[in-house]
């Protein structure tokens, strides 16, 4: 446990072995039962997606017309589709694609959004330009943008990732900008200026590291949105194309068969719900754990 010695000045505790505040935050996160549940599910889902080629009972594209459109059974836990493909295997590989799209799109948002946000928060002149750019992006309907992008690039994993990533930029820009504005006014940043720090050092050493907590929370909250976004785009035929499985693709191709094979929609649907819900729980937990106002100093 952390023991803060606030009373004595010169006689400080001999063995102070407290790590950075982030380790304490992790401990707080693990004490929150909802967040812990979410974290476990997310870890299982990520492992399942990563190890899909090892744990999937069948290859995801293997057709078996003798076993077409079968309900769940011991041989096919999640049933089979109209081509006889094992749905459990396809969900596992689909999850891999969906998570990949989520991670890549958030990476795009952060790589573009964080520098823009830092610049906007630090330099007044740039702020107008960057903030208007972010507002413009935000005002642009996500689907219209995705349709336009798909029209240019053609529907693909890259299209879906780019569309979701770009749609996530304004939020990152705004949060980074407001963090920068807040931090820039703090004493230790002013102190670093008085020590002769350059703008680059201020941003790199003082402002960015102090924004990381907020960005972690934002990324965690953006992940489920990205998974849903991928599902929407693929469902509409703007994202990943069959036969590559993704959770959205599976939902889309299950639609015409909903009467004869409802399990085709149910399992990918449940998978989306469970994974996004868990990610949201983790995100909420992170926010609570990293919120400095809730940390007992």
């Amino acid at each position: 446990m952390t023991t803060l010695d606030l009373t004595t000045v010169d006689a400080a505790p001999a063995e102070a072995t407290v790590g950075p505040s982030r380790r304490r935050a992790l401990r707080r996160l693990l004490r929150n039962p909802l967040a812990l549940t979410g974290l476990v599910v997310v870890v299982v889902a990520v492992l399942a997606a990563l190890l899909a080629n090892l744990i999937a009972p069948y290859p995801p594209d293997q057709t078996d017309f003798s076993a077409a459109l079968q309900p769940p059974s011991p041989a096919h836990w999640f049933g089979t589709d109209e081509l006889g493909r094992d749905q459990l295997s396809r969900v596992l590989f689909g999850l891999r694609v969906s998570l990949l799209v989520a991670v890549l799109s958030i990476a795009i948002s952060i790589v573009v959004g964080v520098p823009l946000g830092l610049a906007a928060g630090f330099y007044r002149g740039l702020d107008r330009v960057v903030s208007r750019f972010a507002d413009t992006l935000l005002a642009f309907p996500f689907l219209v943008f995705a349709v336009g992008l798909a029209a240019i690039l053609g529907p693909s994993l890259l299209t879906a990732t780019t569309a979701i990533g770009v749609a996530g930029i304004p939020a990152i820009v705004r949060v980074t900008r407001s963090e920068t504005l807040r931090l820039r006014g703090l004493d230790f940043v002013a102190g670093a200026v008085a020590d002769g720090a350059s703008d680059f050092v201020l941003l790199r050493r003082h402002i960015l590291p102090n924004s990381v907590n907020t960005l972690i929370v934002l990324a965690t909250v953006a992940a489920p949105a990205a998974i849903i976004g991928e599902a929407v785009l693929s469902f509409l035929g703007l994202g990943i194309r069959p036969p590559m499985p993704s959770l959205g693709v599976m939902l889309a191709s299950a639609q015409p068969l909903f009467r004869s094979g409802p399990w085709l929609a149910v399992f990918p649907g449940i998978c989306i719900v469970v994974v996004t819900l868990s990610l949201n729980l983790v995100g909420d937990g992170m926010r609570d754990a990293l919120d400095p106002r809730e940390s007992p100093r």
Partner: protein, 354 residues
């Protein structure tokens, strides 16, 4: 990252490991810091505000000069203006000379070399003046690398020496700790260690003990006093605490509403002050022997000035004020006690048996 920082090292450094107290040879000739007619105006939404009004003073090598006044009199703004640390809406005029260099004319990049190396600051708020996500060692290392191009083991050793210098026990261990693990007094010591890391010629201490409790204050004042003898730095001490002034300062400049109103050696100021405002300040200090009368306060508040008025800015609060005080702006002239005072009706010298 380092290639973005200007190369350093033209300044002589003592070999790491040798005694820290490498006394600098005293500069021959003029004062270390020479401030002349320094004025600071802030452009605000309701027009310009005059914060500092033609302030002039000098600080000699190794001297401790106290800048005294109540909140809002412009003392902190004066200190920040020396190396142009003010926000961009501040308009600074006048001249600030540090040795050979005119600081107000330096480009921003040149000022970055001055800040932290020649002129270092210690601020009031130790609780918020350290970066919460970096260890003490990293923050000290940052300064050492920036201005002295020290890194790795050498920097660590120097950082340890610095913490030792400011009286922090177990310095090697403290380097690995984060600011939240240190008490306020410890943090202020770290701030001082960072400030003197490059053996600055001038240390600006802006209310360095205000946020600390009294026992800790005494410790910090000891550190400041020792630094002066150990590394030979001049100190510009900004405070409203006359106890601190009496303890530490060689000379005192009293400021009121952006103007300097009296300037004297510390003893002279306490014994033979000439300005009614200075007397008011001294009488506002609680005195155990004068308990019955309680603390005498100065009525009214410091005015916020739009422009430099052609009258004494203290006239509205002064018991001795008459039409003469409002007729024109009083000059800083040699007063009856033999030091400069800006008053039309300076206090007479006290009786010998006061």
């Amino acid at each position: 990252m380092s290639e973005l920082e200007s190369p350093q090292g033209e300044r002589e450094m003592s070999e790491p490991g040798t005694a820290w107290a490498t006394a600098r040879p005293p500069t021959v000739g003029g004062p270390l810091l020479e401030v002349e007619d320094l004025s600071v105006r802030f452009r605000t939404e309701d027009g310009a505000v005059l914060a500092v009004d033609e302030v002039s003073f000098t600080v000699a090598d190794r001297e401790v000069l106290a800048l005294v006044g109540e909140s809002g009199c412009g003392k902190s703004v004066t200190a920040m203006a020396l190396t142009r640390l003010l926000p961009s809406n501040a308009l600074i005029t006048g001249s600030v000379r540090l040795g050979e260099r005119s600081l107000l004319e330096l480009p921003e990049a040149g000022l970055r070399d001055v800040r932290g190396r020649d002129v270092a600051y210690v601020f009031q708020e130790p609780m918020t003046s350290l970066n919460p996500v970096l260890t003490v060692g990293k923050q000290l290392g940052e300064v050492l690398r920036r201005h002295q191009a020290l890194r790795g083991k050498t920097a660590d050793r120097r950082a340890t020496e610095l913490l030792e210098l400011v009286g922090i026990p177990l310095p090697a261990q403290r380097l690995k700790e984060y600011p939240h693990q240190l008490s306020g007094g410890m943090r202020q010591r770290v701030m001082i260690a960072m400030a003197v890391a490059c053996q600055p010629r001038l240390l600006v201490a802006d209310e360095p003990t205000t946020a600390l409790d009294v026992t800790v204050q005494a410790g910090i004042l000891d550190v400041l006093r020792d630094l002066r003898t150990e590394i030979g730095t001049a100190v510009l001490l900004i405070t409203h605490d006359l106890g601190v002034v009496a303890d530490l300062a060689d000379r005192v400049v009293v400021m009121y509403a952006g103007r300097t109103i009296e300037e004297a050696g510390t003893e002279a100021l306490f014994a033979r002050h000439s300005h009614p405002y200075t007397r008011g300040l001294l009488e506002a200090v609680p005195d155990p022997e004068r308990r019955a009368g309680g603390i005498r306060e100065i009525p009214g508040r410091v005015p916020t000035l739009r422009s430099s008025p052609d009258e004494c800015t203290f006239a509205d609060r002064c018991g001795r004020a008459d039409s003469l005080c409002r007729a024109r702006r009083p000059e800083l002239l040699l007063g009856p006690a033999g030091h400069p005072v800006r008053c039309v009706h300076p206090l007479p010298l006290p009786e010998v048996s006061r």
